[in-house]
Structures are given as C-alpha cells and as structure tokens.
C-alpha cells in the first residue's frame, strides 16, 4: 500500500438527501484548528488573524473571511475553519488540529430551521445569519453556524455522524409528512 485512504465522516451514510423543504448534505469544511489565546495574548491573536481578514470572535460570534471562517466554540476558544493557522498564531495561542474530530453537515432550505427545531434547544428565529452557537443536537454536542438565512452548518463529533444524520433525517421525514397531511 502506497498511501492511506482518507475517509470523510459522512462517507457511506447516504447523503445528500432532500425531504420537503430541506436538504441535508455532508459539509467538508477543510482544515479546522482550535485557537485558545494564551493569557494576555488577545491582541496578538487578533493581529495574527488579521491576514485572514478576521479577529478572534466574541461568544456566539462568527467571522467569515474570503477563504476561511472563525467561529467561537467555547470559553476562550474558537475554531479557525477552512485555512491553515496563520504564521505566528501558535506562539500566542494554544492550537490543536481538529480537522478530523468533527463531522460537518449542511442543512439548507426553507424548512431547515423547522427541522433543527426538532433537535436544537435554541431560538432559531433569533439566531442571526452570520452567527454561531454551541448547543446540543438531540443528546450530542453541537457547533451550529448560520452562514446564510437558509443555510445551517453543523459540526458534531465524528464518531456520532451516523446518529446525527439519522436524527436529522427522521426529523426531515416527519416534518415533510406533516406537510403532506
């Protein structure tokens, strides 16, 4: 064997799927780096992120640059998604590679928020486009982003991809069947 085969978390899990007004697809966000600024290094972290067109986000915040996005993911912690960590960031913040730790899903369409309302205990009407939140998807840890009004990006633990897809799909099936009645 000359090389190892990379497998995405959603491989073999029958995506994408469209039911009623919502489509669920695997979302491959590329590189994910956790960024946790060291004590007193907030400004330096912002400076290191400047080339990407973003700073360290506030709670529930998300910043979208040209190629990458940075998302607040917890106390003193954000995920840089879609680009490698810029030069110098590692000196002022604790970084870890999280690229393989998460399963990315994208739920889109006019019914997407209604689907999520079956699983996520958040007020999704008040969830402004361009923001993010840490919460739950059913019983699973969740990073939820709303890059556009009808697009929701979802990160759950990689090992739970199957459960997450099953639960989202069940919600989609039932919601669509309600409309049909």
């Amino acid at each position: 064997m000359a090389e190892l085969i990379a497998k995405s978390p959603g491989a073999g899990l029958h995506l994408p799927v469209t039911r009623g007004g919502a489509t669920l697809a695997e979302w491959l966000p590329g590189a994910i780096t956790s960024v946790a600024p060291f004590a007193g290094a907030g400004d330096k972290v912002d400076a290191a992120l400047t080339p990407l067109g973003m700073g360290f986000p506030a709670p529930n915040g998300m910043a979208q640059g040209k190629t990458a996005r940075i998302v607040w993911t917890g106390r003193g912690q954000a995920f840089l998604i879609g680009a490698p960590a810029p030069e110098g960031l590692g000196a002022v913040a604790a970084l870890t590679d999280q690229s393989d730790g998460w399963a990315g899903l994208r739920l889109a369409g006019p019914a997407a928020a209604d689907v999520l309302a079956r699983l996520v205990p958040l007020d999704l009407d008040s969830f402004a486009p361009g923001t993010a939140a840490r919460s739950l998807l059913g019983h699973m840890a969740l990073i939820l982003m709303r890059p556009d009004p009808e697009v929701w990006d979802i990160l759950v633990f990689r090992s739970m991809a199957r459960t997450a897809i099953h639960e989202l799909d069940t919600a989609m099936v039932q919601l669509a069947a309600r409309a049909a009645g």
Partner: protein, 975 residues
C-alpha cells in the same frame, strides 16, 4: 336510544359521511364529529363502565375532562387505551371499543361490585384482606388488580412515530375562545411573536359551543374571521389540537399536539408531538369547566353537563336526548334549555333551585326545586324532583346538569401557587403572579360573560405587549352579551342513596363523609383515603364539590379546607410523546470507531462501552465461543504482535505556561519534571480522596502535554479539569481541549511490534519505554507512544481519524504476515489482568490510592486534588480491602468476578466477608486468574481464601498472590 342527530345545524360537514365501528358495530358520523358526538348522534348511551362499581356510564362532557367516555381505539400494536371519546375525532375506519367491562359494556359481570358497594366503602381494603398472610399476594391482590385498571395496552412495541419540538415566542396564548383570540390579536398586531395553542381540533373555544352574538354576527363566524386574520400574519403560529399541559420554570411550557390521531393514514407523520415552548409572556385563556351536582344516582347514562349539551347541539348538531330535563344553579342551565328547545328538542322542565327563578319560558320551569334521584340503569328514564315538600317524577331520557363553572386554574397552579377562592362565583380563580409571566383572563379568571371575556382578553394581550416594551395596537373589544353570573350554591342534594362526586373513581358523598368520620379530615388525607380526584380527569369535574362536602363535614369553610396540589400534566400525555426519539437506539448517541466496518467484516461481535462499540474478539473459522478466540489472541500478542483500536480513550490536549504545574495539581504525582518526549502514568483523585481515573500523559513540548483518560471517564475528567482550572487557579495559563475524536489510535503490542511498525513508519524512532515522538507514515504525520497495557513491548500509534480505517486495515494485514492480527476487548482484558493493571472494575469509585497499592504515588512534596481527604483515617489501614491477585489452588478451576472472599473455616455470611473479586480471565499460560479486593490483602499474599459465588454455584479455594502475575520485573515491556 336517546340522543339523535338533528336535521340541521352544527359545524360538522354533513357532506362527508364517516364510517367507524364501536364494539364491532358499524356506525356513521360526519367529518368534524368526535367519537362522542357521533355515538350520541347514533343514540348510543352506554359508552363504558365505571372503575370500581362497573356502573354503566354515558358521555358527561364535550372535552378532555371527560370522566366516563374512555375507550380503546385501534387494534393490534396500534391499540390505544383510555382515549377520550369526547376528544377523539372520527375518521374512516376508526375502530373503538368500550373498556373495563366483561364480557361487554352492556352486560358486565363485574357489576356485582355495585351490589356489594356497602362493603366497598372508602379505604375498605386497608381494613381487610390480611388473613392469612399469603392470600394477599395469591388471591386478593390479583383479583383487585384484574378488577381495577381501565383500558388495555397492546403489550406490543409502539413502533409509531413521535416528535419533540422546541419553540420560542414573545406571547403564548393558551386557549382560543373570546379571551384568547382578543389577547392573540392584541399581541400579534403589536408585532410580537405569538403562539396560540388550543386543545380543540377547531379553534374558537366556547364560541363554537354557544355561538353568542359578537358585533352582530354568530360567535363562530367572528372567531373564524379573527383566526383568518391571525393565520395571515407571519409572526403568529396557530396550534390547534395542542394542549398546553405543564407550566415549568422560566416561562417554559410543555404542550402536546395531536398531529395525526385524526388521520386514517398518517404515513410518516408523527402521531403526537411534544412541544417545549419558551414564552416571555403567557396569557392563560383556557376557559372554565362546568361542574355537576351530587344527587342520588347522578351518574346514569343520559345525564350530561348542561354546557356540554349546548356544545353537542351547536357544534355537532346532535341532541343529547328525545326528552330532556335540565337542572342547574346558574343561568347556564336555562341557556341550555333554551338552546335545546330552539333546536327542536323536547324540554321536559328546567329545575332551578332558586326560589326567584323566572318562569317566563316556553318550557316548564320548576323553581325552588332539586333533583333527588333518578331511575334507569342503562339509560335515564325518570327524574325524581322535590319542590318544597312535594316530590314527583319527570319522564326524561336525558338530564342536563349545571352546578356552576370552575375556571381552568390548573396551569396557573403548576408552580405550587394555590388558587384563590372567589365567593362571588363560588369557585377558585388563579392567584395572580403564581406563575411568573402568566396572566389569566376571561373565564379562566372567573369572568364568564362573552363581553367580559373579550375585554379581559384584550386587556391581557395589551398588558403582555406593554411588558415586552412593544407599542400597543389600536384595538377595541367588540360588542357582545354581558349578563351577570348568578349562582346558588348547591353541591349536594341530601338523600339516602349514593351521590357521585368523582365519576371516574367512583367516589361518592358518603365516601368523603366516611373519610372525615375516620379522621382523614385534611383535604390531602381525604383525597388519598377516598381516591377522590386521582382518576384520569384528576378531579376536574368533582374536586371542588368534594371539597365543599368535606368542608361541610368538618365544619370548615371551603377556602379553609384548601385544595390539593395541581401538578402537570393538565391532561394525560403519552409516554411515547414525551419520550419521542428515545425508541431503540435513539436513547443515546452511538459512537463508532473508524475501524468499525473493518472489525465487523471480520465477524467481530461488537460490545457497547461508554456509548462506543468495540470489538469483543475476532473469531476465526472453526473457533467456538469467545474463550477460544480470546486464548488465541492473547497468545498472539504474547508471541507475535496484536493490533487493537484504542481510540475510545479520552485524549485531552493541555497547553500553556502553567500546564505542568496544573498537571501536578490534578495528578497525585509530578508532571512538571517530565522531560519532553516522555510519557508518565498518572493517578487522578477526586477531591474526596478516592481514585477518579488513571492514564498516561505525554509531554509533547515545553508547554504542551496530551493526557489520556479512560473511555468511561473522559467527559467527567474534562469537566473536572475545567472546574479545577476555573475555580481553583483561574490565573494560571492553561488551555485545554478534547482531541479524542481527532486521532485514531491503535495499540501495537507484542515481541514483533517493532517489525510491524518498521514496515509502516517512514522511520521507527528508537523510543525508550514511556517515550513518545512524532512519526511519518504514508506521507502523513502521526504520533507514536511507547506505552503498554499488556505488559508486552507495546506502542500506540495515532493518526488523524480520516486515515483510521485505512491504517487499521493496513496494520492488521501486515500483522497477519507476522503471525499476528487484531485483538479485541476480551484479550485486552486478559492481557491486563495478567499484568495486574486496573480498570474501572477496580477503580470503581470506592477505592483509594492506598487500596490499589499506589499510596506512594501521592507526592508528599506538593498539594494535589484529593490529597487532604485521602489522609482521613478511614481511607487507609489494614481494615481496608486491598488489591490482590487470585488464582485457584486446583489448576483449571474457573473464577468468577462478583464472587466474595472468606477465610477458610469461617461461616459464609456477611459478618465474615473478607472481600470480592473484580476481574477474572482465562490466561493461556496460567489458567483462570483474577483480581480482587481483600481485607488487609497485601499482608496476606500466600494465604488461602475461600471464593464463594452463590449465584453461579462456585465455592473454591484460591491462593492470594501479587496482582502482577506475569513478568513482575517488566523485562518484556522494556525490551
């Protein structure tokens, strides 16, 4: 036959005939009928039997509070018991059956209880059935159980779909009668996000049942207009068929939506949805429930509440009887008599206890009179009336009763606030502020006229809007009837026979009096002694009257007597709805290893471990049972090389200037001195001094560590580390994050481990035991740790998870060329027992560092979590049970975990218990061996102990030995 379908009227769709069955007989109704209205329309009077006396019973109400008309619907696995016929909408093919009757509702042999009723008074069962003792469980109790209960469960798995939903709003309006609609309109027009929930399939509340005139139009048409208006607004969600069942903290309400219970073929739609609605403000406009009057034999089929009769006439176009008598203490009774007469039903008389009641009606009014008794076992035939000193009989097949109205205070009382007695309406009303943010209005607040409801609803809606800081819309209440509410208190007409209070539980006035006579005088005692109010209607129809009777018996006032506690749910909610999503694997997430498919392909049985699925063993053709495979896998590791997926272990990345110092604080031993590129075993205590977890931590850089936790404790440890960091040393520079899911990690163990790794890695570093390094393989970067959980030369190789499956297949394939292969949890367990290595079988939450022989790992040079508490006298010493190894004296004998240990020669009893076995396994080289805890065990190595496992029939002698069975010097793993 008594009830019948009127030739016109009602809001049912007479163009759509619906066929259904009841007790196997075919009937027809119309679209829009409930099962109750359809049965009444077909003249069916007996719909079930009562709980205790098995009395024939008919429909009493037109809502979810129905105590009598509980039926089973559907068949097979779909069978649903205790369905209110007054709520269930009919659909083509609906099959319903009466329940609690044997053999049938018309001939129920259990009705013998009715004849025995003098001996079945309140609490009789506490006084008898005690002799002989064994007869309670063998005879009396089974009889009682069979007689009790109501409907039947199918006994089969409920495979249907259910749904749970979260919703948020500014204003939740509960109820869509006049008050609710006005509140909703006010809130909606202000721009607030509004949810209107109503239990009924059709919104409008009493406007549909009474059709009062509003702004010159019939109430149902006015409601339809307002609803159309609301439905067109994007900030409004109308939720019919939705009962708000519970008020919980911080404005969280539980609601049950009957999504498809009215559909013949729901497809994939859920049967029910359980909503969690978070509201900033709530308007309780749930209306009021009518109550009856206790008189002798007031429970006969054909006796119905007066307001319900109006609902059947106006809403469904159904008359409750051919010739009706009406008896009531308020104008609700008169209104009913008028409505029935207007609909063409013969009204025998209105019996009004008020001496000054007007007699100016087109029907006979008997004033200053009461109903004293009734006749007609399976359907009312005659009503006994007493007027002054005269008693006489009235022929009637239906008696419509009104004892007044009780505001639906329930939700307002779910947070322990008791309702307040309002003498003017002789009823309880909600206590303002009892549920923060909830405002009751309309009939729910004791304001009964249509005009008052409209005005009060508007007031509540505007108040909510003002609270939210929104601009009030210009809105005025429409014109409507505004009569005063005049009530004469009449709870109970004295008489010789039984007068029912709680129809559903068969509690009579006599039962409540007996309760008081026997000293059960507090309302809670009375409830519990008589079971008053504990039936499916939770006393909605009868509690206030029962209180009044109790107050009378004890010489107290009604408010002085108080109420029992109102608790959720308002109406019963199916377990399946509240547990929606929990069915089968939905109860908890399933976690799958990257190697999962590869393991299953090899036939490995997968076992659950902390939500993960891990391979138990990898059977080869011809191998029978796990022990054969396990034996081979252990030998394979000991003689060649084995590969095991250990990715489930928790991995926490720890960085920062104070990372080492932090580890010193959370571990008993020291990590700040660990050189970069080295790994150390760490022992972690809870603050109470017991062992929390153990694992290895590697130092990847000067300020960079990666900690390993056990699979089971990964979440707990992360939470604990966060707590210690944030509570005890918030100024330290430490940053932590789980990297468990990032890495696929494989143990490569055995004397040929290096051969395997050389084939895979670009370059195998010369790692000492407990060393670590970054490595390259197949063009990617990985981490290599030289650690061992088997006592063999061992490594763990970690790669980004996307490559996990591929690397596992590669490692296993290459291992097989080296006479090795994969090994599972069984072999892993034997390998670690042979080495005396512990898992959570040993560190089960009660063990101390002393118990497992690691007291010396608690560094005397520094403080650490758990150190102070571990010094308590009870945490160490010879009385403690200590970790030992165990091996049978007779080779070949099997050991069992869970067995207890005794000193040979002593009796096997608790007082002599010396310890127990925690882990056992069949060692290929040593036979069965085990680990266990033994009192003062370390001092007893070499002694014999008696191992007794009663449950598995085992009793044998073991030798106590050191827990490390193999290679105590560790030459193999250092080799």
């Amino acid at each position: 036959m008594s009830g019948y379908r009127l030739s016109a009227g009602g809001l049912v769709d007479r163009s759509q005939t619906v066929r259904f069955t009841f007790d196997g007989l075919p009937f027809t109704g119309y679209h829009g009928d409930t099962l109750a209205s359809a049965l009444l329309g077909n003249g069916v009077q007996v719909v079930g039997r009562s709980f205790k006396y098995h009395r024939p019973r008919g429909v009493l109400t037109a809502g979810s509070e129905e105590p009598n008309a509980l039926v089973e619907v559907l068949d097979g696995a779909q069978k649903t018991p205790n369905v209110r016929a007054t709520v269930q909408e009919i659909f083509p093919g609906l099959a319903a059956q009466a329940q609690n009757a044997w053999p049938s509702r018309n001939l129920d042999l259990m009705a013998v209880n009715d004849l025995l009723s003098p001996f079945l008074s309140a609490g009789f069962y506490y006084k008898t059935f005690m002799w002989p003792r064994a007869f309670w469980e063998r005879l009396y109790e089974p009889l009682i159980r069979r007689a009790a209960g109501l409907g039947r469960l199918s006994g089969r798995h409920d495979e249907s779909r259910y749904e749970k939903v979260f919703a948020f709003c500014d204003v939740l309006v509960i109820g869509s009668g006049p008050a609710g609609l006005m509140a909703a309109l006010a809130a909606a027009r202000s721009g607030a996000r509004v949810i209107v929930a109503d239990e009924d399939a059709r919104m409008g509340g009493r406007l549909l049942a009474d059709r009062p005139e509003i702004d010159g139009m019939p109430g149902d048409l006015w409601a339809a207009q307002v609803l159309e208006d609301l439905a067109g607004m994007p900030n409004v969600r109308l939720m019919p068929r939705t009962t708000v069942v519970g008020a919980h903290d911080q404005g969280t309400y539980a609601a049950l939506e009957r999504v498809s219970l009215h559909r013949a073929a729901p497809g994939d739609a859920p049967r029910e949805a359980f909503w969690r609605i978070v509201a900033k403000r709530t308007v309780l406009a749930a209306g009021a429930l009518e109550r009856g009057i206790a008189f002798c034999n007031n429970d006969r089929p054909g006796i119905m509440l007066a307001g319900a009769a109006r609902a059947y006439v106006h809403r469904y176009g159904v008359a409750p009887g051919q010739r009706v008598a009406v008896f009531g203490t308020t104008d609700s009774a008169r209104q009913t008599a008028r409505a029935l007469q207007a609909a063409g039903v013969q009204v025998a008389a209105l019996i009004d206890p008020r001496e000054d009641a007007s007699t100016l009606e087109d029907f006979k009014v008997i004033r200053g009179a009461v109903v004293t008794d009734t006749q007609g076992r399976k359907g009312l035939r005659r009503v006994q009336v007493r007027q002054g000193s005269n008693t006489f009989a009235l022929e009637a097949d239906s008696l419509l009763v009104s004892g007044g109205w009780n505001p639906s205070v329930h939700l307002a009382c779910h947070m322990n606030g008791r309702p307040v007695w309002d003498d003017g309406i002789a009823a309880f009303v909600p206590k303002p502020g009892a549920v923060p943010g909830l405002d009751a209005c309309g009939a729910a607040a004791g304001r009964f006229s249509t005009a008052a409801c409209l005005q009060d609803g508007l007031r509540a809606g505007l108040a909510a809007v003002a609270d939210l800081g929104l601009a009030a819309p210009a809105l005025t209440a429409p014109q409507a009837e505004d009569g005063s509410y005049d009530i004469t208190r009449l709870w109970h007409v004295p008489g010789k026979g039984r007068a029912w209070l709680d129809f559903a539980n068969d509690v009579t006035v006599k039962d409540v009096m007996l309760s008081a006579q026997e000293g059960f005088r507090s309302v809670e005692h009375m409830k519990r002694y008589t079971t008053q109010g504990m039936a499916p209607d939770q006393g909605k129809n009868s509690n206030v009257a029962a209180l009044a009777v109790l107050a009378d018996a004890t010489g107290q006032t009604i408010p002085g007597t108080g109420t029992t506690t109102f608790r959720p749910p308002y109406t019963p909610v199916s377990i399946a709805a509240m547990g929606g999503g929990g069915r089968a694997s939905g109860f908890a997430p399933q976690r799958f290893l990257t190697s999962d498919a590869a393991s299953r392909e090899r036939g490995a049985p997968m076992i659950e471990a902390g939500l993960w699925y891990r391979p138990s063993y990898f059977p080869r053709p011809g191998e029978t049972g796990w022990e054969v495979a396990c034996d081979r896998e252990v030998r394979m590791v000991r003689s060649a090389v084995g590969v095991c997926d250990v990715s489930t272990l928790g991995k926490i990345d720890i960085q920062g200037a104070d990372a080492g110092r932090f580890l010193d604080f959370v571990y008993t031993n020291t990590f700040s001195t660990l050189p970069v590129g080295k790994v150390r075993y760490g022992l972690m205590l809870r603050e109470d001094g017991h062992v929390m977890d153990d694992g290895t931590t590697a130092r990847l850089g000067a300020q960079h560590y990666v900690m390993t936790t056990t699979t089971a404790a990964a979440g707990q440890v992360m939470r604990h580390l966060d707590f210690v960091a944030q509570a005890h040393c918030p100024d330290w520079d430490v940053r932590m994050i789980s990297v468990t899911e990032q890495w696929a990690q494989f143990a490569v163990a055995g004397p040929r481990a290096r051969d395997l790794l050389r084939a895979v890695l670009d370059d195998l570093p010369d790692l000492p035991f407990m060393g670590c390094a970054e490595v390259g393989l197949y063009g990617i970067r990985g981490r290599l740790f030289r650690i061992s959980f088997s006592g063999e030369l061992g490594f763990e190789l970690a790669v980004p998870a996307r490559f996990g499956e591929s690397l596992f297949r590669d490692l296993v394939g290459r291992a097989e060329t080296l006479s090795g292969g994969p090994y599972g949890m069984e072999a892993l367990n034997v390998l670690r027992i042979e080495k005396g290595l512990i898992t959570h079988a040993e560190i089960h939450g009660r063990t101390t560092a002393f118990d497992i022989g690691m007291a010396k790992m608690v560094s005397p040079k520094k403080d650490c979590i758990g150190k102070a508490a571990a010094a308590r006298p009870g945490m160490h010493g010879p009385d403690r049970e200590q970790l030992v190894g165990l091996r049978p004296v007779q080779p070949g004998q099997r050991l069992t975990a869970g067995a207890h240990l005794f000193t040979p020669g002593e009796d096997v009893k608790r007082e002599n218990d010396q310890g127990y076995v925690t882990s056992v396994g069949p060692s290929p080289s040593l036979g069965w061996i085990g680990l266990g805890f033994l009192k003062n065990g370390r001092a007893r190595v070499g002694e014999m102990v008696r191992l007794v496992d009663h449950l598995r029939g085992l009793d044998l002698l073991c030798e106590v030995c050191d827990p490390v069975f193999l290679d105590p010097a560790g030459e193999k793993l250092r080799g």
